[in-house]
Amino acid sequence: MIQEFKSKGKNYLIGLIWFFLLLWPLLGIHSDGTLSFAKAFYVWFYIFCASIIVVTVYIIHKKGLTLPLVKPLASATNKIYGYAASMPKPVLFIIIGVIAFLFPFFTERYAQDTAINVLIYICLGLGLNIVVGMAGLLDLGYIAFYGVGAYTYALLNTLYGLSFWLSLPIVAIFAGIAGCIVGYPTLRMRGDYLAIVTLGFGEIIRIIFNNWMQLTNGPNGILGIKPPAALIPSFANGFSFEYLYLKKLHYLYYAALLLAVFTIIVVSRLSASRIGRAWEAIREDETVAEMTGINTFSLKLLAYATGAVLGGIAGAFFAARMRFVSPESFTFIESAMVLSMVVLGGMGSIPGIILGVIALIALPEVFREFELYRMLAFGASMTLMMLFRPKGLIPSKRMGVRSEEKEE
């Protein structure tokens, strides 16, 4: 125990010295030819204190001294988990559904806005999950389909005046075609070759959005997109339905909720189906899957297309909500964010991905207070979360160990 502590302490000390060595040149060497230590030391000291506190808490926790504090909390959460687990699934869904339904009634617009973002990203995350989590194809350009969806709706709406709900099937077709176009040449590739090719496709589509002036209006984006409309019951003159554009945030929230629920149902049905099992077989071992009679070619293409359709629908809603699209929303970092949500939440697991989305959308919003430190904290917490939960927050139960990863 003491031995272990000694080596840990040594590592910790080395870590602190290492950190100072990295920090000082950045803060202490000035271009006017002077050296200073105060500022670097000051920053370092802050981090030193913070880390001491964290480490102490960690040690105390490890030794079990926090048990009296943690125990009631843990037992309480366990109880809740127990209740939730013992409850029949429909009841659980109804409770979550009711909470989701009532959400706009007791929140302000900022929370609603964030909630809409969360719902859009749930659609995106679940769509990407089909490609990455279920079929095991690393896709770094997923946001392209989101963009295709957004632009398709934007153009249909602004040029032909098609309404949101009518556009959705067309959006789905276009996104599906885009998925096949991206999917087809990549099917021969594996692993990181696939990664760079999908990344390349993502960039190509963004550059086309940015440069095809006649169609997309380039960097200026497309303005004046109509939000989704709905028949709202109105009681003003007796009872009638009123055709209304959903401009108010809470109406939009319900539309987003509808899409998210739709996506969740699609994905959960898919994962329970033959196709879902075939995808998972491809993920675990493509060669064996092929030998058992799975048509890997068309199924991989199907995975791309399905993922793209879901992404495209999310994109159409994004365009309808923003009432404005421009290529800047579809950069590589967005793809990386969606991928992070999927991996962080737990590949292949629907509740996991929902949690992952909430975590990654909420984090930057929480850190918004820190302004400049926001992205710094975001990057650090991304790494930390991976270190502590490498399989994701809620790992999928059906994720096997790949043969090639077993022993190393």
Partner: protein, 303 residues
Amino acid sequence: MEYFIQQLINGLTLGGIYALIALGYTMVYGIIQLINFAHGEFFAAGGYMGVILLSFLSANGYLATNPWLCLSGSIILAMIYCSLLATGVEKIAYKPLRKSSRLSVLLSALGMSIFIQNGLMLTQGVYDKPYPSIFSGGGFDFGNIKISYMQIVILLITILLLVFLNILVFKTRIGKAMRATAQDKTMSSLVGIKSDRVISITFIIGASLAAAAGIMVGMYYGSVGYNMGFVPGIKAFAAAVLGGIGNITGAMIGGLLIGIIEIFGAGYISSEYKDVFAFIILIGVLYFMPTGIMGENVDDTRV
């Protein structure tokens, strides 16, 4: 014709820069099959260290009296700095995840990339930093064709590094250990290779290369910015894949190719679509040669 040659020189220079970054990228990839997103950030950190040290020296007047000594000293210090940074990042963010799925490491790398980039921004400010200008000027004129000294230096250094790395990997003891570790970590520890140390050394070499590249690029373009690592990082990744990831010569060829395609695409067709040309060629090459131009070193592993 003059136009063609000038564009070719431009392309070779840009390609040389990509190749410089891609060399480190591909080495790290080769050994632990990790797309090290933070590599671009090591490159930026190297560029910043160059600015910090050179402007410090120039303010003290050393730069004017002893330019070459100052430059080489700065490059060495920046290399050491980036090595420190890289080993630390490796120990903190990659090593604990060695047994997890490769996507977790990928995310961890992405997190580190965001962290370092913003760390640089916070400590060094959001403005680009200018390099002292004494190295960037000068060049040869052949009629209308201009070749600056920096362009020659970049190409020379890339070729030198390529030779040096090939010797290192294929002829030396550590190189053999690297290759063995890359192929089979368990077995290599059964024959007595300390694979953790080999991986650290690979990171150090990769980061030193990135640091040198950062200073080169800083001097060539005249400035460094905190977000300078991201785009070249992706291009270098593309270059490494194009050449056959894990293959050192391949990375060099891939880098040069991407640079030349970009420049010719911009020079002859249209500059706003130049990245499209680069990526289309990449996709096309990979479609017909799914393991890159130089092939080799593909483990049949997926996500």
